[in-house]
């Protein structure tokens, strides 16, 4: 008797086809209610109108490899504006036969970034590794030793310059930002006011005004005979700008450390320096890692503004290609390509930041 029952049981009644699988999913997510159904249909219609022509333009009718003339007759995109000029777009005026050097420097940077992705690799030695790596990158770009010919920084350009400005900018701005944040939290009124004025002043003005200051006024600040090159001036402007934003982020972290931690540190007899170094900052800086990545993303995007003061970053090299009569009229393709590069960079950083946020949240 029991046996018969048990044999009958496995024949479960399946849910109706309208509740499972693709149909069920579509019903639950696309056609629940008349409003959503209309919305879905309208959206699908819009997609049908826009996506196929775009695909035809970007892929099917596109020209991938040709010298300018072949593009003129094509009905699709002319991607050969990229394939014919990619060396210039990526490296700018860097001497053609030496371009392996910025390439190696960039690979080194990507390698370091990739290695640092894993939180278990974060230790003192990685920090030293980064410092050493940044120096090696600088030397590779600059040259002038070990048989490498010296390359003037005025010839630096393209992607290496974009990365250099953002990564060096963030690295140098970080300590300054932390100092400013500590100053803003300080009980010494004078220092507090000074820091607030600096932070609010910088955050109130657009980056472009600082870049103008760097490129036009900064030379006036220096004594006679001393000159700093254009890239460094832009770099200083970016550092001063980024530091103010980092300061605000770090302040958020400092406020996120519970009051009890300060009091506990004080009751142990630690002075303010030790309290900050051993107790508060390690916790605060951990909290602010995800927003710091957001600042890196902003810095990466914002470096494109150096176009306006005529530095040859990725965007400017692209525009230089586009001003060549041979490639006149293919801005869309070139800009879409550059946008894709920026998107990939920012998107992977943003994703990483989100992942990190989740990991750090569970740890606490």
């Amino acid at each position: 008797m029991e046996n018969v029952l048990q044999q009958q049981q496995p024949e479960k009644i399946k849910p109706p086809v309208t509740h499972i699988g693709l149909v069920g999913w579509a019903k639950a997510n696309l056609f629940n209610g008349w409003f959503n159904s209309v919305l879905t249909v309208v959206t699908l219609l819009l997609l049908y109108k826009t996506v196929p022509p775009l695909i035809r333009w970007a892929f099917i009718n596109a020209v991938w490899k040709s010298a300018g003339t072949g593009c003129r007759e094509a009905t699709g995109a002319c991607w050969s504006v990229i394939s014919a000029n990619y060396r210039f777009i990526f490296f700018g005026f860097y001497p053609y036969d030496q371009q392996w050097r910025p390439l190696v420097a960039m690979l080194l940077l990507f390698g370091l970034l990739f290695y640092s992705r894993n939180r278990h690799h974060w230790n003192k030695y990685l920090g030293y590794g980064w410092i050493a790596g940044l120096f090696v990158m600088g030397f590779l770009m600059k040259g002038g030793f070990l048989g490498l010919t010296s390359v003037e920084s005025t010839k630096w350009g393209g992607l290496p310059l974009t990365l250099l400005l953002s990564v060096f900018g963030l690295t140098a701005a970080y300590p300054l930002g932390v100092l400013l944040a500590l100053g803003r939290q300080s009980e010494m009124r004078g220092i507090k006011v000074l820091c607030i004025v600096y932070i609010e002043l910088i955050r109130g003005v657009p980056l472009i005004s600082l870049l103008f200051m760097g490129s036009i006024i900064f030379p006036l600040f220096l004594p006679e005979g001393v000159t700093i090159n254009k890239i460094l001036r832009a770099q200083i402007a970016i550092i001063l700008f980024t530091a103010a934003y980092i300061a605000e982020v770090v302040r958020g972290g400092l406020q996120g450390v519970p009051r009890g931690q300060y009091e506990a540190a004080e009751s142990l007899g630690l002075n303010i320096y030790l309290t900050m170094r051993l107790i508060v900052l390690p916790q605060a800086l951990k909290i602010v890692i995800p927003p710091t990545v957001s600042i890196l993303i902003s810095a990466f995007k914002d470096t494109s503004l150096v176009v306006i003061i005529a530095l040859f970053d990725l965007l400017k090299t692209t525009q230089t290609v586009l001003s060549n009569p041979k490639w006149l009229g293919f801005s869309r393709e070139a800009y879409i390509f550059i946008a894709l590069l920026y998107f990939l960079g920012c998107f992977s950083m943003a994703n990483y930041s989100r992942k990190l946020e989740k990991e750090l949240a569970t740890d606490n």
């Binding site: 959206t43 010494m188 003005v205 657009p206 993303i297 494109s304 503004l305 869309r332």
Partner: protein
């Protein structure tokens, strides 16, 4: 015993032993501050001194005298009358007004688009939600300057000359001279309609106050929304009708190589507006989404359980709470839009930075020029933060 003794003495502020001043945190703080101020002062002195020497050597005269000189450059778009014979100061005012114009229009459109995308992101329609997500992600991750260049390039490369202008809707033309729209011709009645609208706004304000007080006293609800809408639309409409309903469309027509009539929006303006709006809307969408999600589900359920209707739930319970979360980041996004409008200089829209830049190039007064740029943007940001502080205090959660 002795230890407690000293301890008490320190607490009482009368030390038996003399404590060296570097162990006293208060005195130490003063010394630190003096030190920092000296350093900053020295740095400032050094920079100013160098600058003055350099200016002297290059024989650049400082001062604001140049503001009263003739500017001798044209500005394509101006809200107030302007010609090349006017002074630099007027040119700068024209630039500042252009910045305000593009920021204001941009902010209004951005709030609508951003709210729309933010709500779409929360939609339970999978397709709509995913599309909104893609929009947000893509727009946030592409530099605004690149977007500006892209939209601008459409005008000078993609759109045809006025002769073959595209006309997606009747009365709207797109060509490489910009966007040309059919607009109603100016009538005197419109000024009175505007006045009627402003009067209507004031009326609505007092009506709301009255309705709220009456509801607090008697519990009766006054249909404020519908009556307000009636006032706001009705007042201007009555004015318009009383003037005999004057209406005449100014329709753009091709004459020679350009359009006559209608309203022309320049390619620079459109590209700048498009870039700013599409970029900032992605951030605003995230802000709106976070704000709506921050109101806990229990609030909606509680509101419904005490018998409020859907509209009331939204108006009286959800929105006031969501707005409290939304407003601060929203304002900072609006400020970002205003600051980003300075990128107009890259595509040639005559905003404040662009005009100031031309002024710097013509006069060589770089310090004054950059100082002006910074001052103008600081005024924008500081006035906004003053307003925000006032608003935050007003909507702050009253905790008991």
């Amino acid at each position: 015993m002795r230890v407690t003794d000293t301890h008490d003495n320190i607490l009482n502020g009368s030390p038996s032993e003399k404590i060296p001043f570097w162990f006293d945190p208060r005195k130490r703080a003063i010394i630190y501050q003096i030190g920092v101020f000296c350093l900053v002062g020295l740095l400032a002195y050094y920079l100013v001194n160098n600058t003055l020497l350099n200016l002297k050597r290059q024989s650049i005269a400082t001062g604001w005298g140049f503001l009263h000189k003739e500017s001798a450059f044209e500005i394509g778009e101006h809200l107030i009358p302007y010609s090349a014979a006017d002074t630099y100061s007027r040119a700068l005012v024209v630039g500042a007004l252009n910045t305000l114009k593009v920021s204001f229009v941009g902010i209004v459109i951005t709030i609508f688009l951003g709210t729309f995308v933010g709500i779409a992101r929360l939609s339970n329609n999978w397709l709509v939600s995913k599309l909104a997500g893609i929009y947000i992600e893509v727009m946030q991750d592409i530099p605004i300057l690149l977007q500006l260049f892209f939209w601008y390039s459409l005008f000078y490369e993609f759109f045809p000359s006025p002769g073959q202008a595209l006309s997606p809707i009747q009365g709207v033309f797109i060509c490489n001279r910009g966007l040309i729209l059919a607009v109603p011709e100016a009538q005197t009645a419109y000024k009175f309609m505007l006045a009627a609208f402003i009067v209507g706004c004031a009326g609505v304000y007092f009506l709301r106050r009255w309705a709220r007080r009456r509801q607090a006293e008697s519990g009766r609800i006054f249909p404020v929304f519908w009556v307000s809408a009636g006032i706001l639309i009705g007042f201007p409409l009555i004015t318009w009708l009383s003037f005999g309903a004057p209406f005449k469309l100014s329709i753009p027509e091709l004459q020679g190589f350009n359009f006559k009539g209608g309203m022309t929006l320049s390619p620079e303006f459109i590209a700048l507006l498009l870039g700013l709006v599409l970029y900032t809307a992605a951030f605003v969408a995230e802000v709106v989404r976070a704000g709506i999600q921050s109101v806990s589900k229990g609030q909606r359920e509680a509101a419904m359980s005490i018998g409020l209707k859907t509209g009331q739930v939204l108006n009286l319970v959800i929105l006031p709470q969501a707005l409290r979360v939304i407003m601060p980041p929203l304002t900072s996004q609006m400020l970002n839009l205003t600051k980003n409008s300075s990128l107009a200089v890259a595509i040639g829209f005559p905003d404040f930075v662009s005009v100031a830049n031309t002024t710097i190039n013509q006069t060589g007064q770089s310090i004054e020029g950059v100082a002006l740029i910074m001052a103008v943007y600081l005024i924008f940001s500081l006035s906004t933060s003053v307003f925000m502080n006032w608003y935050n205090k007003k909507v702050k959660l009253v905790e008991r």
